[in-house]
Each structure stands twice: as structure tokens, then as C-alpha cells.
Symmetry: C2
Subunit: 379 residues, 2 copies
């Protein structure tokens, strides 16, 4: 059992909002935090013992940073895994483990892992060249995804028919059957070093198709209990198959026929778990800390209905951020504003999120819509 | 209406645990924080944009610090009020106002304010010299309190009979009738610049007589509704009479005859409000920020039974702090540990607090007792 306070220095690769919210929680345990991020204006810059500006994908930078800490975690998976593997060899605790990050960084390896472990996922084919794509037996329409470095909808390309082929990615990719889903759902699960595994209750998501970002998330789900249970079991199975230490976000599709397909994994706190800060007994950030410090995992029960909306930069605004309507939303009880400390807004940039809680689900939805219409990030 | 994010720099006089928890909340609003504290190892040292080491009672130090910020607040009332008054004159917003801090710094002025405003309080007499004390018409037993600089039970002296007189304070003080109280209670109230006033539900306290510190606090109260209402009305009246901007903690005695007497005021977040972080819709820290930034005050409703226990340094331990039993208490659902980032423990030093929540009051009490027996700060 590691000491969960003071003694151990925690390093975080990435200094964005996920790191920021992790630090807010780590304060409660006297955990000393150092952060590495390429952006000297990153959200964590003022909130840690040491903020190092440097590349997350450069071997030497990550290795040197890792040597300063006892325990290293990530808030973004695009990091140099070779450096992490070397640090592990040299006795630094790296959670999630480098092998897990390596697997998840590559959507092709992720899909193969699903297949090998009987985890239901949309049919796919790995594509290494434009020729592979021309010769595929897949019928239109399908989705092409870059194997590496896609995020928030980037690196995804729809192939409706042959006319779309010239615009397709030429880098290593995979193609996937177009899933006609009823709903996107997600489960966040945690596993600590001792092997304890706990899932948060399943959440339902609504995407903004224009921004291709989660826009509206609601928990607990009102879908049939069996579906929720199946999703939670699936997430736990994946965490156990991976033997991950830390948090794992499992994004899933619920097909119209009722089948659940696993879409993607993220081995870290995730946008689909932000509502847990106010909505659950423990938050995803608290749970991640408990998992990586090998502490008992916390109770994940929902306390009330919670809706999370992302606060995105308005479409035609770019520059220093101004938050319009904040005093109006603060008038509503049970509305929690979380801004991410980003000075500049850009169209659809994640500038913050708001969680709305209410014992009455319909009221929560009504308040969430009001917040969405009222709070605007302009420049 | 002030901008509640980014634009305004907030200065905090004092870098202890109250400042630390205020910063944890301020992160959500992108508020840039600077802190002044004489101790270079103060709990806030790593969590702010700028941490200035310097005396809180020195005019020049406080004035110079105040000139760097737009809005100045306190987490301890022992600060140089002359500097604050000058800063106010020069356009810095100081909340709570210097005149409120000046009044509250002096227990004599506080008591006179109660008298002038028909606020029930124990009978008292101001004492300026040992001679005054010898000539008082007060009958034994009574309590002597220093007018200035008493805190956490320091600066209080019990005069049981004439034998205690030689040990009495010789500095300006007041003497007060010994109150035979049933219970200590407290209400935290907030008032923003626009004049909106909201009280948190009354809490009941249990003191550790040896350490003379709040040891156990429970909310909501189960005392009769009329008593709770009276206490909350009284706190609101005081906030309105003072025209304070910010948070005001009102500590009260409930006498055996059912009468409420106001004991002391603190114009800032207070130990008797820590349970609000998990126990209420908004916490005292969120409410203080809303009040000083002139935002709508938040809903103060209790979400469930919440008990707060202080985590104090064990009696015979002094040195680098070790927190024993933390992994055991983390096994209980609804137990929230807050450590204050203090490297060294001393007997009875406030090293942290734990909030225990449960829908069942008896279960909450049972869990609190378990935490109290289990979590120990040793060296």
C-alpha cells in the first residue's frame, strides 16, 4: 500500500482540463504534483509544484520529467510510450502502464484486442495503403479512422460511396462498418493495483454533430436495467483483460437491435465522467487517484440526476474569452460551472463544462437547456 | 456586476487551509489568485499564481500586496486594517470591508455592536486594567477574554473565584457571564454587494474540551425548527446590520432555557462550515466567492446528513506528519478526507478534516466515530 499523501511525487503528462480537475482533487490528499505540457499557457500552469514546458512525444523530455517523480500518470494518451517503458524498467510507477497506453494509442491494436478478447465491436479491417482500401470487400457506406492521433472527431472520415475514396486518409487506418446506433453510452471503470475493480453507473450521451463532441450527457441512465448491467460488466471485463491500473473510459454504441458494441477506450479521466464531480459519491478524478495510489476504490453510486454540458467556444469567435450569461446560470440551484482556465477561445474549443443536478429528471433537463442557451463563450 | 473569471485578480490575506479550500473552488471560475502569508510553507504555497511571504500585520507589506490585486479578501482576521482602509480609498475592493474586520478584530467592539443592535449576547463588561477587574460588580464565576488576537481557545481565561485573579490577563479584555449552555450552534451567512443575503442551515457542534476546538459538527440540526429559524434569522440580521460583503460565521450558544446568545463572529469561511463542501448544494467557499464577486448567492440546502471532524495532531507527536489509517477510512462510502498540506504535525494542530455523509443520521454518526478512532496524525 503506497502512502497517499506528501511522500510520493505525482507527475502528470498533459496539463489540460483533465489534469486541472485531477489536481483539484489531489489537493485533498497533499499529493505533490508536477506537470509536463507543451503549452506554457496550459490550464494546470499555476496549480502545481512544478510546471515543465516540453513535448509529450519527445523521448528525452518525457524520460527526464519522469525521473523527477515517483508515480507518473497521463491526462492525454498521445505521449512517448518508449520513455514510459524505460521509466517502468527503472522503477518509476507508470499508471496506466505503458503497454496499455501503447495499445490504446493505436486504434488498430485496440480493435484487435477487442476481437481477441470476445469484446463486441463493429466489424473492421486494417488498412495500410490506398490499395488496401480500393481492394476491400467492405460495402459502402463505412467509416475510415486513422490508427493514430485521432481525437474529438479528428481522424475520422465517412466513406459513403466510391466518390469519397480520393479524399480518404493515406496513413495507416482501419475501416469499420457504419453502426446504426440508437444511443451512445459510456461507462467509466477503475482498477487499482491490488486488482479491485469498480464501474461508475452507465451514462447516456448526446453528441453535437456539427462539433462532433459530447454536448449533453445524462446519468443515471433510464435505459433498461439489463442494458446498463451489460455495459458495466463489459467495461469491467475490459479493465480486467487489460489489467489496467487507473481509470478506463469505455465508449459504446447501443445499436437499434439492442446490442452493445464497444467503440473506443481512453485510459484516463474522460469527458463522459465530468458529471461525477457533483453527481456521484466519488468523482472520476478521486477514483483515478485512489486507483493509481492503490487505495480502496470509492463508492460510485449516483446521488441524483446529473447532466453535463460542455461549454464550447462560439462558432464565429476567436480571441480572449468572455463568458456571457454566467450570472444568469448561477441563479439556478444545482448548477455547477467549471471553467478550464483557457485564455483564448476558438470555435468549438472546450472552454469548460457545467453540471446540472436535480432530484427531478425532467427539471434537470429543462435547466440544462436553459444553461445551454444562456452561457456563451465569445471574444 | 463584476466579471467572475480571469479578468480580476483576487488577493487572499492568509495562506492556510481556508485559503487552500477557497482556491480549490476558485479554480472553477478561472479566478487568478495571489496569496500573502508569513509562513513560506503555508498550505496555499503551490496553488496560486503568486505566493508572497510577508507579515499580515505590517502596513507596508499588506498595502504593497493589495496594490497588485483588484479584489482583496481574508482567510484570517488578524491583518493590518489601516492598510486595507487605505487600499479601499484607492479603489481596491476589499471584502469583507476594513471597517467590518476592525470591528470583529476587537471582541470589545463586537460585544458593543451586539448591544447597540439588540443582538442577544452574554452580559459583559470591558476591562482596561487589573484595577477594573478588581472593582467589577460581576460575581464569580466569569470568563475573561482578551479583546484582541485570541483564537481557537487562546486568549480565554476562566475566573472561578478570587484565587484566579492573579493569573488574569492584564491586557485590554472583557469579562463575560459564564453561559450554562446546552449546545454550541453556528450559522454561516453570506451577503453580496447587491444586498442579497442567504444563510446556511444551522449546524450543531461538539467541542473537544481538552483541545478547545470544534471536534464534531453535524448538519442539518435536529433541534426544534423554531430554534433553527431563530438562529438563521439572527445571523441574517447581523450580516445586514454590518452590511458585510462576504461570508460571516456566527457562533452561538443555545442556553438550557432555550435562549440563543451570540458568542462570536468570523468574517470569512469558517471551520463550522467545512461540511458544506459535500453536504450542501453550494459550499461556504463557493458562496464566499459569489458574495465578494457580487454574483447571485447559491442555494444552501443540505443534501444529506453531514458530519465534520477535525483531524488534529496526536497529543505526544511533533514532527513530519504521518497519516495512519487513511486507507481504512477510504473503505467507508461517503467519507471525504481533506488534508491541509502541512508538513509538520504538533499536538492538536489542525492537519485536515473529514466529512462523513449518509442519508441515515445514526449511520453517519457511527461512521464518524469510526473515522475518529481510526485516522491518526502521528510523527
Amino acid at each position: 500500500m503506497k502512502a497517499f499523501y506528501g511522500d510520493l511525487k505525482l507527475g502528470i503528462l498533459g496539463g489540460g482540463q483533465l489534469g486541472r480537475m485531477l489536481i483539484q482533487q489531489a489537493i485533498n490528499y497533499n499529493v505533490t504534483v508536477k506537470v509536463l505540457d507543451p503549452d506554457r499557457e496550459a490550464p494546470c500552469r499555476k496549480l502545481c509544484e512544478e510546471f515543465v514546458v516540453g513535448s509529450l512525444s519527445d523521448y528525452d523530455t518525457v524520460y527526464k520529467f519522469g525521473k523527477k517523480v515517483d508515480l507518473l500518470t497521463i491526462e492525454i494518451e498521445k505521449v512517448n510510450v518508449e520513455a514510459l517503458a524505460k521509466l517502468e524498467e527503472e522503477g518509476v510507477m507508470v499508471y496506466p502502464q505503458s503497454r496499455v497506453i501503447r495499445l490504446i494509442q493505436d486504434k488498430g491494436l485496440q480493435k484487435q484486442f477487442f476481437k481477441e478478447n470476445d469484446i463486441p465491436t463493429a466489424e473492421f479491417q486494417l488498412i495500410s495503403s490506398p490499395e488496401d482500401l480500393r481492394n476491400t470487400a467492405f460495402t459502402f457506406p463505412y467509416i475510415q479512422k486513422l490508427r493514430r492521433d485521432g481525437y474529438d472527431g479528428k481522424g475520422v472520415y465517412k466513406v459513403i460511396d466510391a466518390n469519397d475514396l480520393p479524399g480518404a486518409f493515406t496513413e495507416p487506418s482501419l475501416i469499420e462498418r457504419f453502426v446504426d446506433f440508437e444511443k451512445e453510452i459510456a461507462v467509466i471503470v477503475a482498477r487499482n493495483e491490488s486488482g479491485e475493480v469498480k464501474a461508475f453507473p452507465m451514462v447516456e450521451m448526446e453528441f453535437n454533430p456539427q462539433a462532433n463532441l459530447v454536448e449533453f450527457l445524462i446519468a443515471p441512465s433510464t435505459l433498461p436495467f439489463e442494458i446498463q448491467q451489460e455495459a458495466e460488466q463489459l467495461a469491467k471485463k475490459i479493465a480486467e483483460d487489460l489489467k489496467i491500473v487507473g481509470l478506463l473510459a469505455v465508449e459504446m454504441f447501443l445499436e437499434k437491435n439492442g446490442r452493445i458494441l464497444v467503440n473506443e477506450l481512453a485510459p484516463r479521466p474522460h469527458n463522459s465522467g465530468h458529471q461525477s464531480i457533483e453527481g456521484n459519491t466519488v468523482s472520476q478524478f478521486e477514483q483515478h487517484l485512489r486507483a493509481i495510489f492503490d487505495q480502496p476504490l470509492g463508492d460510485t453510486a449516483c446521488l441524483h440526476n446529473a447532466i453535463m454540458i460542455n461549454v464550447l467556444g462560439e462558432e464565429s469567435h476567436e480571441g480572449p474569452a468572455v463568458y456571457k450569461g454566467i450570472e444568469k446560470v448561477l441563479k439556478c440551484p444545482g448548477v455547477y460551472v467549471h471553467l478550464y482556465g483557457k485564455a483564448l477561445t476558438k470555435p468549438f474549443r472546450k472552454m469548460g463544462h457545467v453540471t446540472i443536478v436535480d432530484v427531478d429528471r425532467e427539471k434537470a433537463i429543462e435547466k440544462a437547456r436553459y444553461v445551454q442557451q444562456t452561457l456563451k463563450v465569445v471574444s
